[in-house]
């Protein structure tokens, strides 16, 4: 019971501390809010439409060739297929397109150059579509770039078709028939405009809308944030042992008829309690405010348990190596930032990270905690969580034991 009194005293102190509330709860929510608004603030959609605001895009078609392949690009960007993502408008020339960007009327501009059709159909031609972007915007232009890339890949495919035809004609000792070339391209154009376009906008999983995809991505980002701050909270709370040592209250506790193991146990219980409160508040508030989906209840509970164990244990171990609270700031800030980065907490939304990063994250508790949460967010059942949660628990226990031994030796 004494341990509970000590933990309760510490928890109450944490909840009264503006610094703690700021760092443990408000800062992660604030950072998440910035992400939320950066993504258009609409991930609370339920499937009727995308959460991301459509990217305002102006399109210039300077391709005047007979095939007018540029029209395919234009119709793709301003057509109904991508209206959930791209709000396209055609303008007359590059000057108008630049003006639209400079006056913030557009996030991106696409210029189909003159001779585009000829370049596509010419086996030695270079087809270059220009993408102009508002330097402040990053995500919108990147999406338009991805759409264009898919479109140009399709054009490249058609050029391979034409080259194959030309090669066959040369092999047969005949001259490629320009009418056949035009016919092939017309058929391609017709097919593209009739719906069988080379560009298909697909959501990652069948039946999942864009809002759900964004929500999942946001959840993953927020999980990284939450885990980072949970590790910080664990270490910061464990640092109260050092703080009490400096204040003389730990020595006074040691003069009471309470064993040192129970006193240190109470301090560690306070770390666990504080992280439980923090993680629960963040999960609940982010669900209510941002509409984030964390996964099935059982999986979330398992992830939460593993997170609390890993962050508390790691915090106790880290704090045990800190001699003074003055050392605490740089050690916690620097150490946890590096561990968080290597553990992959900040790179969840970055595709195709180097394999080395993944390997490094396997030897850090942060890497396993984020793996667990990503599984939960992906909707995996509790049974699929056993490995990462088991590793989290193991990390927690090992770190607890190491930290406890160091503290006991120091205060023996």
């Amino acid at each position: 019971m004494t341990e509970v009194y000590i933990a309760g005293k510490d928890l109450r102190g944490s909840l009264r501390s503006r610094f703690f509330i700021g760092v443990a709860v408000l800062v992660p929510l604030l950072v998440m809010s910035l992400f939320f608004f950066a993504f258009g603030g609409g991930v609370k959609g339920t499937g009727a439409g995308p959460g991301l605001a459509p990217i305002r895009t102006v399109v210039v078609d300077e391709d005047t060739g007979s095939l007018q392949l540029g029209r395919i690009a234009v119709s793709t960007l301003i057509g109904p297929q991508l209206r959930q993502i791209v709000s396209g408008t055609e303008v007359l020339d590059t000057i108008q397109a630049r003006h639209a960007l400079e006056t913030k009327q557009a996030d991106a501009a696409v210029v189909i150059p003159a001779g585009f059709s000829a370049a596509v159909t010419d086996s030695a031609g270079q087809a270059e579509v220009m993408l102009l972007a508002d330097p402040v915007k990053t995500i919108g232009p990147a999406v338009v770039q991805a759409v264009l890339q898919r479109l140009l890949d399709a054009f490249s495919g058609s050029r391979i078709l034409l080259n194959t035809y030309r090669g066959a004609a040369v092999s047969a000792g005949t001259t490629p028939d320009s009418n056949v070339v035009a016919g092939l391209m017309e058929q391609y154009q017709a097919a593209a405009q009739s719906g069988a376009a080379p560009l298909t906008v697909r959501t990652p999983e069948a039946g999942e809308d864009v809002a759900a995809m964004l929500r999942r991505m946001m959840s993953s980002i927020f999980a990284g944030l939450m885990i980072f701050f949970a590790f910080y909270t664990g270490a910061y709370t464990a640092l109260s042992i050092v703080r009490e040592h400096e204040d003389g209250t730990l020595a006074r506790l040691f003069t009471t008829p309470v064993g040192r193991s129970r006193i240190l146990g109470g301090k560690m219980l306070s770390v666990v309690a504080t992280v439980v409160v923090q993680a629960t508040v963040l999960v609940v508030v982010s669900t209510l405010l941002f509409g984030l989906k964390w996964g099935q209840a059982g999986s979330v509970l398992l992830a939460l348990v593993g997170t609390v164990a890993a962050t508390s244990g790691f915090g106790v171990m880290l704090a045990s190596f800190i001699k003074t609270t003055r050392q605490g700031g740089p050690v916690l800030g620097g150490g946890l930032s590096v561990a968080g980065m290597l553990g992959g907490l900040f790179t969840q939304a970055v595709p195709n990270m180097p394999a080395a990063f993944n390997r490094i994250s396997l030897v850090l508790p942060q890497g396993w905690v984020i793996r667990g949460w990503n599984l939960a967010i992906a909707g995996r059942a509790a049974g699929d969580m056993l490995l990462p949660v088991g590793v989290m628990l193991a990390w927690g226990v090992v770190c607890f034991v190491v930290g406890s031994m160091v503290f006991r030796r120091r205060f023996a």
Binding site: L253, F254, T256, P257
Partner: protein, 335 residues
């Protein structure tokens, strides 16, 4: 200083039988305690005992080993050798029982500054095993005793130094300890707060509580203690009542007299007075050394009246612990 005027004595409602178990002969017995920190011997085989119901002071300069000794008795440090019994319980073999009998007032304020006075006392009371109605009653009693009922909900961090000191002491008395250990509780505080603390100690002792008190202020040790152990360089160099200590080193009272007339002649007359061991003339005054100044001073006046000079001023300097320490170590207490 607003708090100083409202401070009261610690008037407790303890039952003496509860405070002092009849089985223990001494409240504290220290036996050959030794403690070294690497090459530095902080406590070198000290022994003493604190009798039941007495105030016992450890007097010595900074670094003498007082706080180390107190830390060992309080259970904070483990001795390299030796043992200490608190109310008959060994600090090594029955440390929990020993700690239950102790109330420790640390030298520095050891309270949670973000908690109120009441919350602090409730927490420390729980650490001593109090709960429920008893805890609440004791907290009320102690808040009343230290004059902080009206400020009980105020955060300790906002209190003046004197108020913090009072809460610091109250936290050690909640569980009605048989022995209170106070480690230099008056260091760095204003004279008024110091006066209050000394009065608190006397009141606790009047109620029958045993007090182990450390200080490097000779006046405090003399005022409070029935017995005193003088420590220096980790050793107890003398132990006893104040008078015993003074007699131990054979110190005599010094009586400085100013006379109308020739000081040399007065010194010659007084040299033959019974009880006077030595007379000297210095800076126009006569210095007389005597073992019993109370008996000798009237005789000096008598001798002066029978001669042709008169005494115009008398300054009696009784031997004290400062002179004892000086005699034993060759250094002053505050060196």
């Amino acid at each position: 200083m607003a708090d100083a005027g409202s401070a009261r004595l610690l008037v407790d409602t303890v039952t003496p039988g509860h405070m002092i178990p009849p089985m223990a002969d001494n409240a504290v017995e220290v036996r050959d305690l030794t403690k070294a920190f690497r090459d530095v011997v902080a406590v070198a085989g000290i022994s003493f005992e604190v009798k039941r119901g007495e105030v016992f002071s450890l007097l010595g300069p900074n670094g003498a080993g007082k706080s180390t000794a107190i830390s060992i008795i309080s259970g904070l440090l483990r001795p390299d050798s030796g043992d200490a019994l608190v109310m008959g319980h060994s600090i090594l073999k029955e440390s929990m029982a020993a700690r239950r009998s102790l109330g420790v007032v640390p030298q520095e304020i050891a309270l949670y500054s973000d908690m109120s006075a009441r919350e602090n006392l409730v927490f420390w009371g729980r650490m001593y095993g109090l709960s429920g109605g008893e805890l609440s009653r004791r907290v009320d009693e102690m808040l009343s005793a230290v004059g902080l009922v009206e400020r009980q909900k105020g955060r300790v961090g906002t209190f003046s130094g004197g108020m913090k000191r009072r809460v610091n002491i109250a936290a050690a008395l909640l569980h009605r300890p048989a022995v209170v250990v106070m480690d230099e509780p008056t260091v760095g505080i204003d004279p008024q707060s110091r006066r209050h603390i000394l009065d608190h100690v006397k009141e606790l002792n009047r109620q029958g509580m045993s007090v182990l008190y450390t200080t490097h202020y000779m006046e405090e040790a003399e005022e409070l203690s029935q017995r005193i152990a003088i420590m220096d360089k980790g050793r107890v160099i003398a132990c006893g009542t104040r008078d015993e200590l003074v007699r131990m080193v054979g110190e005599q009272a010094r009586i400085d007299l100013t006379v109308t007339g020739e000081p040399g002649k007065a010194a010659e007359v007084w040299r033959t007075v019974a009880g006077v061991s030595q007379t000297t003339v210095a800076q126009g005054r006569v210095e007389v050394l005597a073992a019993d100044s109370d008996a000798v001073v009237p005789r000096l006046f008598e001798a002066a009246a029978q001669s042709d000079f008169r005494i115009s001023s008398v300054d009696i300097r009784e031997p004290n612990l400062e002179t004892v320490f000086l005699s034993l170590t060759g250094r002053a207490l505050r060196d």
